[in-house]
């Protein structure tokens, strides 16, 4: 399994970090990405990415209580751990370094 942080995984980590611990489950995470980036994401792809991140030890999850409006299924809450935060910071540093000095990207917001 690769140790590299893909761009979609970075988005997922940022979305989880933006949400409170009590809100960071599948639906709000996908909504957060859709609202922030305008990109439509399927819930299955969100879970696939979260499980990859969990397998690498960058994210942890815990099960909540079962609720009737979810057909008796529990929510699975995700949290970015210290290693995950470190990886996000690393990715940001690398991107900012890449950004610097590119004339075409200076000044504008688009």
């Amino acid at each position: 399994m690769g140790d590299r942080l893909e761009s979609f995984e970075l988005m997922i980590l940022l979305a989880v970090l933006r949400l409170d611990d009590k809100d960071a489950y599948g639906v709000p995470i996908s909504t957060e990405i859709e609202q922030t980036t305008g990109r439509r994401v399927a819930l299955a792809t969100v879970y696939a990415a979260l499980e990859r991140l969990e397998d690498r030890g960058w994210v942890t999850s815990r099960m909540g209580e079962s609720t009737a409006e979810r057909g008796g299924r529990a929510k699975r809450y995700f949290r970015v751990n210290a290693e995950g935060v470190r990886r996000v910071r690393e990715a940001k540093r690398a991107l900012v370094k890449m950004w610097r000095g590119i004339r075409e990207l200076q000044g504008g917001t688009t």
Binding site: Y25, G26, L43, A44, A48, E51, S66, E69, G72, R73
Partner: protein, 211 residues
């Protein structure tokens, strides 16, 4: 107007063929979104994508299991289908026409043969392996038909028989495998592969379901 309950078949497919680690929470999210106004088409799309992701992930994670599932599925499905249709052809073929035998006798027998293979694969392998076996049936059929078309064999076979094989390979086979897989998932408390794996896996906490 949209029915109140989410569609049963995709729910059952997700429960049966996606690992429980993912399926419980994902199903809850899908139901929550469906209750909030999403369509049945959206629900089906999400489930099909989840099944494809699950099969792909399982294939990458365990190629040996996948190969074994395909071998066991092929041996069971093909041999059962061959012997049952051979026997039926001898007895029934005397009384009815050849095409009637093909469509009314061979197709149901083949369905049950493939269902048996799906059941066996489901009981002896991780959940997603049934999807890999069903997918293999489709891919193998595409290759077989392409080779037959390339060698101009299809032109020599009567059209009703070609249609029979198309229905068998692309509809009856994969559907039979999935039906057998669902059947094999219906009794999860028995000593299936998942029960064995649950005993050996300690990292995942089983869910408590209300009601």
């Amino acid at each position: 107007m949209k029915p109140a309950n989410p569609p049963t078949l995709p729910t059952k497919l997700l429960e049966s063929f996606v690992p429980q680690r993912t399926s419980e929470a994902l199903l809850g999210d899908l139901i929550e979104q469906y209750e909030a106004g999403r369509s049945r088409t959206w629900y089906w799309q999400q489930v099909i994508l989840a099944l494809a992701i699950s099969a792909g992930r399982e294939l990458r994670a365990s190629k040996l299991h996948a190969a074994r599932a395909v071998v066991i599925g092929s041996l069971t499905g093909a041999s059962l289908s061959y012997f049952t249709t051979l026997l039926a052809g001898r007895f029934v073929g005397r009384f009815v026409g050849v095409y009637t035998t093909y469509y009314l006798v061979f197709l149901p027998l083949s369905f049950f043969s493939f269902a048996a293979s799906g059941w066996i694969v489901r009981r002896s392998h991780p959940r997603a392996m049934v999807l890999i076996w069903a997918g293999f049936c489709v891919v193998a059929s595409v290759v077989a038909f392409a080779v037959c078309a390339w060698l101009s064999i299809l032109a020599q076979i009567p059209a009703p028989i070609v249609v029979f094989f198309l229905v068998l390979d692309f509809i009856i086979g994969p559907l039979g495998v999935l039906a057998g897989g669902l059947w094999g998932s219906s009794d999860t408390d028995n000593a299936s592969y998942d029960t064995h794996r649950k005993r050996t896996e300690t990292s995942y906490t089983p869910l408590r379901r209300s009601g």
